[in-house]
Symmetry: C2
Subunit: 337 residues, 2 copies
């Protein structure tokens, strides 16, 4: 006889009672402030519906669920599509299935995805949050169901879950230092309107490198814009129209850096002699352009294997841990510095 | 009282009885040749486990599942990551959730994914198969569960499901004609070892264009290799080392075409004056190189909207249909012809 499947979750109990699922979760775990009357009502209903709290243990018992979920903001950028593809490969080799979700940079969609994961009875989750996700709260439902999760690249600030992050401050810092070493003195930075901490960290790294090398921070040399090649082209025009033109440009993404190179070549500037350019991401597109783009590389293989290992360790030990793994980026020198 | 969830599938019935799920499906639908004794046994067990055949109708009743699945061979190539990302956006706007799977070009993994989809109770599936998937049989389980599916770009040969395909023959044909019109006479073709029909169609289009323009088919000018920029670089070297060098090169992918351009520039050939180059895919990477790469574009927006519409039409009408939609490609002229 096969074991009867149990898919009752705290969300079912919550729906049934018209109570928020966080309240249900608190009541069932005996944590937080839930009125005794409500708590009793919740426990009664949970028992009635056959809710079992420890999904993870249950999965082990059934040996049914060996599904990991990966949630990313956008599948199009090289960094995310490469991460997802590589993660899938090592997970499959280890006997896991992987489902992938895209939040499309919308916190609302991200929340819906996380809620839905409970129903799919995933064993673990790896997530990179949207540009606007500041709080971890919508991930709590995973915690409530004892499903481990790991943030990679972009985590909510003050997240309490395990995370694998890149030292973005250091990446930008070293890129600026590399340009200074090659004789550049007026280094511009093309950033993005995105508010997420990883972009603020890059900006901070840029500023600190100037400061440590006794170069002034010039407001006009820092501009923010879109995320693609044509945005880089347009931003480069703005910078090169300045009276005080930059002799080095750091771009927050390789695609933007390539747009910068295209504009500089169009107006007859030599790279790197007149203007040096560095991007972020180690996107293969940077090898397509001429000169090839020097870039700050987040090691995707390290990020994939760390994220996978830290997730599996939690799954195997049946505990949710808090660990912060920082991956140091490195500069890949090509022809643009 | 919430409706009790029912997740018993034909696979559960099959597992329980130690019988292949295709047999179970046939027995329950009263189709195909299943011995009466076995059929009775299957029906008894199915009823015992509470199996309900019409999952789709059930989903409508529950209003629970509005989940679509997208299955692709590899998320890294621009074509697939862009398709998936855009599909997700229009599906989300229409109120669907989307889960994404990567078969990693392995038919075995693809089969596992399709089997697993039954358990996730998806409403519909959009799939592009692996380079080796010739038969549709592992998709039959979806048909058995009345879950509509649409193939896009790559379909199994003689598939009986609805499909949205690109006219690859015509794309290659027109690319060769474009080079002939610009005065080229010795046109090479860099293909791939992949056996899937879409690649054979491109080769056939190349051959037919030569024939229709009274140009000889020269075996040495057709070579097969890997899928990436460095492969294109290596293949271009082989072609340019020939005694009879080509004056035009068609590449089966843009990334390969960019590798070709890089090699040609390295050895001092001018593009397009000495050698013209055309790729396939309209990958933005083609804009990063110099000269920018002329390309055969499969219209991804058309493919996404057709795939979505044809899937939703089947879901809404609760029928599985067979329709073949052919998207005509177009050449995007940039600087390499």
């Amino acid at each position: 006889m096969i074991e009867k499947r149990n898919t009752v979750t705290i969300k079912d109990v919550a729906r049934e009672l018209g109570i928020h699922h966080v309240t249900v979760s608190r009541a069932l775990r005996n944590t937080g402030s839930v009125k005794k009357e409500t708590r009793d009502q919740i426990k009664k209903k949970a028992s009635e519906l056959g809710y079992k709290p420890n999904r993870l243990a249950q999965n082990f018992r059934n040996k049914r669920s060996n599904v990991l979920a990966v949630v990313v903001p956008d599948l199009r950028p090289y960094f995310f599509s490469k991460f997802v593809s590589d993660f899938m490969n090592i997970a499959q080799e280890a006997g896991y299935s992987v489902m992938i979700f895209q939040s499309s940079e919308k916190t609302g969609v991200e929340k819906e995805i996380i809620d839905a994961l409970i129903g799919y009875r995933v064993t673990g989750v790896v997530a990179s949050v949207t540009k606007d996700t500041v709080y971890e709260s919508h991930f709590n439902i995973l915690r409530d169901e004892n499903i481990p999760y790991v943030f990679f690249d972009r985590a909510p600030e003050q997240a309490e879950a395990t995370q694998v992050l890149v030292n973005n401050f250091q990446g930008a810092y070293e890129a600026v230092v590399a340009m200074i070493k090659s004789g550049k003195r007026k280094i511009a930075y093309i950033s993005t309107h995105y508010q997420h901490k990883i972009f603020r960290d890059r900006l901070d790294g840029y500023k600190q490198a100037l400061k440590d090398n006794n170069l002034p921070y010039i407001k006009e040399l820092v501009i923010k814009g879109g995320f693609f090649m044509n945005d880089g082209f347009d931003q480069a025009k703005k910078l090169m129209d300045l009276k005080e033109k930059p002799d080095g440009i750091l771009a927050v993404r390789d695609e933007i850096g390539i747009g910068v190179i295209k504009y500089l070549k169009k107006i007859g500037f030599r790279i790197p002699e007149d203007v040096a350019v560095i991007g972020f991401d180690n996107d293969p597109m940077g090898v397509a352009c001429e000169p090839e783009l020097t870039t700050v590389a987040q090691s995707i293989p390290s990020m994939v294997s760390s994220s996978f290992d830290l997730l599996i360790r939690q799954i195997n030990s049946n505990t949710l841990s808090f660990e912060k793994k920082i991956i140091e980026p490195s500069i890949i020198y090509r022809g643009s510095v």
